[in-house]
Structures are given as structure tokens and as C-alpha cells.
Amino acid sequence: MEVINEMRLEFPSKSQNESFARVTVAAFAAQLDPTLEEIADIKTAVSEAVTNAIIHGYENTIGIVTVIAKLYEGKIEIEVIDEGKGIEDIEKARQPLYTSKPELERSGMGFTVMETFMDEVEVISAPGQGTRVKLVKYLKSAGGELRRNDGQG
């Protein structure tokens, strides 16, 4: 599958950048003519992954969070990468309600939200090696089709 467009964001793990990251990715995704619901889904999933990088990956330190987005015909692929502490047991981390930070009033629903709002969620991580979360969404909107038929209707 051919990449139509791609972008890369890098920012320090400050909580102010959570809204910056999700809004930027959503604006970029708009090139695929997604529906309002699809845009909201993408924003929410990006917010979860970036927040995790900041809270869990880097904890109370400042590191660099990288977000890469690639647009394909009817599909967006987003990677959220940190070089923080990593995840020891990925399967356990992905379970609904599991959180390593209950004292911060985290609910342990971030991965569940990502899985519900996106079509594929892949997590690559190891202790001390950082974490890479890949989010994929297939856009049901006919944007791609419509563009190809431009000028005919």
C-alpha cells in the first residue's frame, strides 16, 4: 500500500503537549476526509497513547515523545514512541482496569479506549527500552473514492 502523506512530531513530555499532539494528528488526518466520529476516535486514541508516554514512560522526568502519522488510501497509521521505562508485561498492561498508578486516580482504561476507538493496536515495549504504540484505523468514509472520481460529479 502506497503512503499518500506522512508527518513526524517531536516534543518534550509535558502535559500541555497532550492536546497539541491530538489536535495536530486530527488536523493531518482530515486530509483523508474522515467523518466527525472518526476524527474524534483518532483524537481520543492519540491522547491516550501520548498521555501514557508522559505519565508512565517518562514518569516525573522529561524525555522526547515522537508521533509519526502515515496516510494511506482509506487508512491512517499512527505511532507514538517514547524512550522511557518500558512495559514489563504487555498483556497485563492491556487488560481493562489494570493500572500501575491507582494512587494518581488512573482508571486503567487507556488501552481499552485505544482498542475500541481504533481497528488495530500494536504495542512494542521492553523494560528500559521504551514503548512504541502503533494505532491503525480504516476509514469507512468514502473520501478516497470521491477524490478519485473528482470532476465527474
Binding site: S19, T51, V113
Partner: protein
């Protein structure tokens, strides 16, 4: 992020405007907890009509306040829930502990807060 509230008998109607994420959650939590220092408040009704975005950070905020008022025999409810927020509340299972109403009036009458 802006929070305004209005007291009606044992209920506090709280309107949250803006975005509720990890960045804003601490400030929201602090405001809500200072409101809850008044022990006569048993019910919290959140007006989410002006909340533009929420992620799982908001879930934690609602669960935390639910724990406080349920200790007092009260409850938490939400009104005017927009689609993105509804989806987050739904997948997280929050509707098992907090209720959704279509209007403030409906939420108030459910907790006996309105004089009929």
C-alpha cells in the same frame, strides 16, 4: 478549562467547560474536592454540554468523586453528554456506577431536588 456550579438542595450541578485530559484533570479534581468539602452535598450532576473533549483521565476524575458522594449515600450523574464523551463513558463501563439523563431537570427530579 472553566468550572461553574449551582447548588440545589442536596445536589450540586457542575458545568465543566473546555477539555478534560491529564493536563487539566488535577485542576478539575481540586475544584471539585473543594466543593465537596461541604458535607451536605450528596449528589453531583455534571453538565457536560460544553465539555469539548475527554479521555480516560476524565474517567478517573468521575470515579474519584463518585467514591466520595457514594460514601454519603449520594450519587453522580451526567447530562447533555456529547457523542465523543458518551463513547468514552460507555467503553469504560462508567454507566454502571453513574447515570445519564437528558436534562438537568430530569437529573434533579431523580434525586428529589426539585420542588414540584
Amino acid at each position: 478549562m472553566q468550572i461553574s456550579s449551582c447548588r440545589i438542595k442536596q445536589a450540586l450541578v457542575v458545568k465543566i467547560e473546555g477539555e478534560l485530559d491529564h493536563h487539566t484533570a488535577d485542576a478539575v479534581r481540586e475544584r471539585l474536592d473543594s466543593m465537596l468539602e461541604d458535607p451536605s452535598i450528596k449528589y453531583m450532576i455534571f453538565d457536560l454540554s460544553q465539555l469539548k473533549f475527554m479521555d480516560s483521565s476524565g474517567i478517573g476524575v468521575f470515579i474519584g468523586r463518585y467514591k466520595v458522594v457514594s460514601q454519603r449515600g449520594g450519587a453522580v450523574s451526567v447530562v447533555y453528554v456529547t457523542p465523543q464523551i458518551n463513547k468514552v463513558l460507555e467503553v469504560s463501563g462508567l454507566y454502571r456506577i453513574i447515570r445519564k439523563y437528558d436534562s438537568i431537570e430530569e437529573a434533579l427530579s431523580a434525586v428529589g431536588g426539585c420542588d414540584e
